[in-house]
């Protein structure tokens, strides 16, 4: 399969990463049960990881035949700033979720990204973020009773107190 499309920036690095990861996983699959039996827990994992490594090498061969694309730049076409910022923001979200709790973390996450991307006014961003968090909270926490980490806002106590106010003890 000879494709005429040029090689994108970083493609070789990704390709080598794929091969290295596949080989490592193959080694790990071998460690499950070795060449013990056709029915062993490691048989199919060894087959799949070997196939991954093989495909990785075939892709590499194809890639080496292509000429690099000089029109594309890694900082513009592969990893532009918004993508990096978003990846960092999601990581920060995961790190802050436990200590800070669902409501503040989600609000800050949405506010930050919306403000940064849209460049609209603070009033707009705050309103959009708060509205979205409220909607998600109602759907996930109240209707589907998914217990999100509560953090600094004592929401369960508030909910319980309100429940008592309205219905008395159930």
């Amino acid at each position: 399969m000879q494709s005429k499309t040029p090689r994108r920036p970083g493609e070789l690095v990704f390709n080598l990463f794929v091969i290295a990861a596949s080989l490592f996983l193959f080694y790990s699959a071998y460690g499950i049960a070795g060449f013990d039996a056709l029915s062993s827990a490691g048989a199919i994992p060894m087959m799949t990881t070997a196939l991954m490594a093989l495909c990785g090498v075939l892709i590499l061969r194809e890639n080496l035949r292509k000429s690099p694309n000089t029109a594309e730049k890694i900082e513009r076409d592969i990893l532009p700033i918004p993508v990096i910022v978003t990846i960092i923001a999601i990581t920060a979200y995961a790190l802050l979720l436990k200590p800070l709790g669902f409501i503040p973390t989600s609000f800050l996450f949405l506010l930050g990204l919306m403000k940064l991307f849209s460049g609209r006014s603070w009033v707009f961003s705050v309103a959009a973020a708060a509205g979205s968090v409220a909607l998600i909270y109602v759907i996930f926490r109240l209707i589907f009773t998914v217990l999100m980490p509560q953090g600094v806002v004592p929401e369960s106590e508030i909910l319980a107190a309100i429940g008592h106010l309205f219905g008395g003890a159930k």
Partner: protein
């Protein structure tokens, strides 16, 4: 006979049951549409919620949610390229390109009508032939499931996009991801690197949300400033001619859906992908190529996954064996309400069977009604500014991944697979095969091992078993045929003849 009709009509005539089915279907569409909220989850919450109710209202609500939920997954697949549920993965392949051309309304219209049609076929088969279909489904041996899984894996060929090697890589990666965790058959740890958190494996939903939701959002960040696509929504309901044109394909897809749905251990997700592949094979000259917005690519998976609903009820009602995870929970619900689902249910309580058939029919009708109304509001989502939509999609993805198992680990996995998926997209790897691999991993692995153990670790004995059983032989020949037809070998044979 009067009895049958009476029980069938119960949900239609009782205003309370009627509104519960309607409510369930309506809620189901939204549950299905939001990645991370699943029908399985909703139905198990309903068990506690409807605990003190009578059995009939509880079942009505659950069936509504099930029917609506299977259909709802297509919404976000078409509008955002993020399947709301695994069974809508194939729908995104041609649905999203249509939305990008401003044809979201038409895509949703076709999807809705075809889902209704598929649902109807499933229900008819359930009502007319449940005992014989389940007798057939139960005869599937481990080697047959293994061959079925191999047949499924060959779909990689249809899902690979431009590069087959990259598609095969992605498929193998999916199979690998599916085997991570504690092997339930031997308690061996696979790819866990000694971590307890890894023992449960990687949540399939976290992989799906990461690969489709997060990576799609990251890709769209490149073109953030382009406004959303203006949608033309003047013809939503497809014309009679359109429906008639796709009738043969939708009938075939429904058949695939019912059978795959009725097999214990396989469900709507595999059925939809198989039907998509089937459509690609039988459609000689699509108006628009597959992957670019072919209507056939919507018709096949959407009829199949809704036909699988009726299919899943077949072993449940006749044998007490769940056809998928949702019917497994419903069996639990029937027990809690004092019924005994099993081979005797149809004998001792036939009214329950006809009541469920009635509920399914009603839910199917409501799905059509709710599906065809309110599309205008729904497609507004695509017209929203991306600068607001993308952060919202990301937050929903995070919450959805968290909700599956209440675990932050899943959020990290979602992010990891999101970034990996992002690079894979940039470098021309299609992601469909990854998900296909994850779905089929256990089916292939477990049944391969069962099959070879049953034949005392001997390949010749296994082959002998395959060629002497008509069912296995048929599946085996199908595998060979599809494999050959997708490799250069076929082209050579054809050229030789011409």
């Amino acid at each position: 006979m009067m009895d049958v009709i009476n029980n069938f009509l119960i949900p239609f005539l009782d205003l309370k049951l009627l509104s519960l089915v309607a409510l369930g279907t309506f809620a189901g569409i939204y549950i299905g549409a939001i990645p991370g909220l699943s029908v399985t989850m909703a139905v198990s919450i309903l068990i506690s919620f409807t605990f003190s109710w009578d059995v009939l209202p509880a079942i009505s609500l659950m069936i509504g949610i099930y029917m609506g939920g299977v259909y709802g997954g297509s919404r976000t697949a078409i509008l955002l390229n993020i399947p709301g549920a695994p069974s809508a993965i194939a729908t995104a392949l041609d649905g999203f390109p249509m939305a990008q051309r401003g044809e979201a309304g038409e895509a949703i219209g076709i999807t809705t009508v075809m889902s209704f049609f598929g649902g109807l076929v499933g229900i008819i088969v359930l009502a007319a032939a449940a005992p014989s279909v389940s007798a057939f489904a139960i005869r599937f041996q481990p080697r047959d499931y293994m061959l079925l899984a191999v047949l499924g894996i060959l779909l990689v060929g249809s899902l690979s996009g431009d590069s087959l090697v990259k598609g095969v890589f992605a498929g193998a990666m999916g199979l690998m991801i599916g085997s991570i965790g504690l092997d339930p058959l031997t308690m061996d740890q696979r790819f866990t690197f000694g971590s307890t958190a890894m023992m449960g494996g990687i949540s399939f939903i976290a992989v799906m949300i990461g690969m489709f939701g997060v990576s799609e959002a990251l890709i769209q960040l490149h073109s953030m400033k382009t406004p959303g696509v203006k949608q033309v929504i003047n013809r939503i309901v497809p014309s009679f001619g359109t429906i008639r044109k796709y009738l043969p394909l939708s009938l075939q897809s429904s058949a695939i859906g019912v059978i795959i749905g009725a097999l214990p251990g396989t469900g709507g997700d595999i059925a939809a992908l198989m039907a998509y592949d089937h459509a690609k094979r039988v459609t000689k000259n699509p108006e628009v190529p597959f992957g670019k917005g072919a209507r056939e690519g919507l018709v096949a998976p959407e009829t199949a996954n809704n036909a699988a609903v009726g299919g899943a009820f077949i072993p449940m009602m006749t044998l007490g064996i769940p056809g998928d995870s949702v019917t497994a929970i419903m069996i639990g619900a029937l027990f809690i309400h004092g019924l005994h689902p099993g081979p005797m249910l149809m004998v001792e309580q036939p009214h329950m069977f006809w009541f469920i058939v009635g509920c399914l029919t009603l839910a199917n009708v409501f799905m059509l009604i709710f599906g065809l109304t309110g599309i205008k509001i729904f497609v507004k989502v695509v017209e929203m500014p991306r600068t607001v939509l993308i952060p919202l999609i990301l937050l929903l993805s995070i919450v959805g991944a968290y909700a599956v198992n209440n675990s932050l680990t899943d959020v990290y996995w979602m992010l990891g697979f999101g970034v990996l998926g992002y690079f894979m997209r940039l470098y021309g790897y299609s992601l469909g095969p990854v998900i296909l691999g994850v779905i089929l991993s256990r089916l292939l692995d477990d049944n391969w091992r069962r099959a070879i153990i049953s034949d005392q670790e001997s390949l010749p004995r296994l082959m002998h078993g395959i060629v002497t059983s008509p069912l296995s032989l048929t599946l085996f020949l199908a595998v060979i045929f599809i494999f050959v037809s997708k490799t250069p070998l076929w082209a050579m044979i054809k050229r030789g003849r011409a």
